[in-house]
Amino acid sequence: MNIVETARNGATVISLEGILNAAAAPQLKAHLENSDPASPTVIDLTNVEFIDSSGLGALVGFLRKKKTGSGSLKLANLNNRVKRVFEITQAYSLFDVYDDLEAAIGK
Amino acid sequence: MEFRIDTSTGMNIGIAVLPGRIDAANSPLLQQAFPEWLKKTSNLVFDCRQLDLLDSSGLGVIVSCLRKTIERQGDLKLAALSNRVAILFELTKAKRLFSIHPDTGAAIRAFSSENKE
């Protein structure tokens, strides 16, 4: 699992790449732990090949941290396989999901 | 099942208040009680305002009550049917057999106006 973090327009963009399962979740969690809870963050999921409930759990945990820290979290570019996991778990009702990274970052 | 005689119109009209549900469990009670009522008068009204659930056995008993009243040259009128019970009467065509009134008052008045004719 590759995690690339960039700053754009005052927002933090975290691009994830690869497999997001129980083996990769601790790495993602550790990375997200260190991020600023108050800054607006966009997670780009374009290159996530696979996600399961452990990976989703890491995202949900981060979202909760953001909510308490009054920061915002947006997700961008969910592919069909990711979307399917969100649909089954109804996680879509928690996240703001954008189909375009630029729109999620904002002007 | 409560039963009383109303003489306000100068006629003996028997009014029976039917319970909340009439099904296979309690329809025999109605069937047993009815001949007793019929001895007192052959003009009857079934007040159905509490009646919410009626199954085919209950409906069968009510139709047999009607048949017995007609044999004695009387009539059995129904009053205050709930929407749900009204659908059942419509569905089974039993609606055509009975004269149906919005409340017991209207049913009693219908008896007296029929009497004048």
């Binding site: 009702s93 375009d100 | 419509e90 569905l91 089974t92």
Partner: protein, 424 residues
């Protein structure tokens, strides 16, 4: 042009309560899922890509519509939050919406349209903004008009609100009456008469136009269907019943000698759209409670099965071992040897010797509690009775015996199973 359908769970809540369809947009109007009418209109309006955005499940619609290849368009799906407004939704779907005109259909509404009308040129000249807003839903367009010319004519379009079951009822009736304006399913040999596949109309039954009948429908002797009646799929109207001015949705049974007038039927539920009152039809042939065998008989049956299984275990221990040892023996193994290990489970009580083989267990939606609760078994009833081995027949036999099970019958069947030449 593109089109965005915004589907909010809260706006469809009453439809979900009223109908048992998997998704409110899959409730049928004139035998056609509601969403297809919206798709038809969007396509007539020139949309080549449609995105369905919802704050609820989209999987049922996706399962039905797929990627849109059936209509020759692209259909995609996206999620939103319940509190998102139209601007926010456009922003979240900005890749889909950018640089193009987008027709936005929001909420619960039906667009009365005409398949022969030219909505394309009309819409392309309309200025950006709302077209109609009726409270329960709205139609609007975003993006600059693609041409400036005055519209030659204004095509027929009107949008009735659908806010209660009576609205749905009258809309269905109106749609059937205006059949030639819409694309409706079924064979249409003559106007106002749409009939699906595998429809049996028995001698003496009468069909009065306008009428629409779905697939796998049986109309028994003396029944009268119509006028102004819509019947879904898998429906039976039993003998001498009348159905007029009504809608019978899928899987409805109407018993004998009934009169259904201006009602909506679904399963065993009948609704009067005018008052909203509902009635459960508990027909003696289909719905009456099935007699539950007493516990004592259950214990006795368990004993019968365990004893028979113990006898078989002892009897077959040697041949089974012998066949396990010899690989050559495997080819002509017979049923009882194959299922030998299962016999121990019968003794333990977790299986029955004779019973339902449980081929239908995957369908846990079956309403038949008895079949679901029945224990799995080593031999099927059908096998015991040497019934033909086709699956559907065997299933019927299994159902029959599960319902009529008794210790005495079990003994009889156990003997039958054991003298069956296929067993040994």
């Amino acid at each position: 042009m593109k089109s965005l359908f915004i589907v909010r769970k809260s706006e469809h809540a009453w439809i979900c309560r009223q109908f048992s369809a998997e998704h409110p947009l899959l409730v049928t109007l004139c035998n056609k899922p509601f969403i297809e009418f919206l798709l038809d209109f969007a396509i007539l309006a020139g949309a080549d890509a449609i995105r369905i955005v919802s704050d609820g499940q989209t999987a049922p619609i996706e399962a039905y519509c797929g990627n849109g290849s059936r209509w020759g368009i692209d259909i995609s799906y996206a999620h939103m939050r319940p509190e998102d407004d139209r601007e926010r939704i456009m922003e979240k779907n900005s890749r889909f919406c950018s640089e193009d005109r987008v027709l936005i259909i929001e909420g619960v509404l039906f667009i009365e349209h005409d398949k022969h009308a030219d909505y394309r040129s009309w819409l392309s000249a309309l200025p950006e903004g709302g077209i109609v807003d009726i409270g329960s839903g709205s139609l609007s367009i975003s993006g600059e008009p693609t041409k400036d010319m005055a519209v030659p004519f204004r095509p027929l379009i009107s949008i009735p609100a659908i806010e209660c079951v009576n609205d749905y009822f009258s809309l269905s009736a109106a749609t059937l009456g205006a059949g030639t304006r819409y694309i409706l399913p079924g064979y249409c040999n003559e106007p106002d008469c749409f009939i699906g596949r595998n429809v049996v109309i028995q001698k003496g039954a009468e069909i009065r136009k306008p009428v629409m009948i779905g697939n796998n429908v049986q109309i028994m002797t003396g029944a009268v269907i119509g006028p102004a009646t819509i019947i879904g799929s898998n429906v039976i109207v039993d003998r001498e019943s009348t159905v007029k001015g009504s809608i019978l949705l899928d899987n409805t049974f109407i018993g004998e000698q009934l009169e259904v007038d201006r009602k909506i039927g679904e399963g065993n539920r009948l609704t009067d759209p005018a008052s909203g009152a509902t009635l459960m039809m508990e027909d003696p042939h289909l719905m009456s409670a099935i007699h539950q065998p007493a516990d004592a008989s259950g214990l006795l049956r368990q004993l019968v099965h365990s004893l028979a299984a113990t006898a078989l275990v002892l009897l077959l221990a040697l041949p089974w071992l012998a066949l396990r040892m010899l690989p050559a023996g495997r080819s002509n193994r017979n049923i009882i040897i194959e299922r030998y290990p299962l016999l121990f489970r019968v003794i333990r009580g977790s299986m029955r010797l004779i019973g339902s083989r449980g081929k239908d267990r995957k369908n846990s939606e079956t309403p038949d509690m008895h079949i679901r609760q029945a224990k799995p078994s080593v031999f099927g009833y059908a096998e015991a009775e040497q019934w033909p081995e086709t699956d559907s027949d065997a299933l019927i036999v299994d159902h029959y015996y599960t319902r009529h099970a008794s210790p005495l019958k079990d003994i009889g069947l156990a003997i039958k199973a054991l003298i069956n030449p296929k067993t040994f």
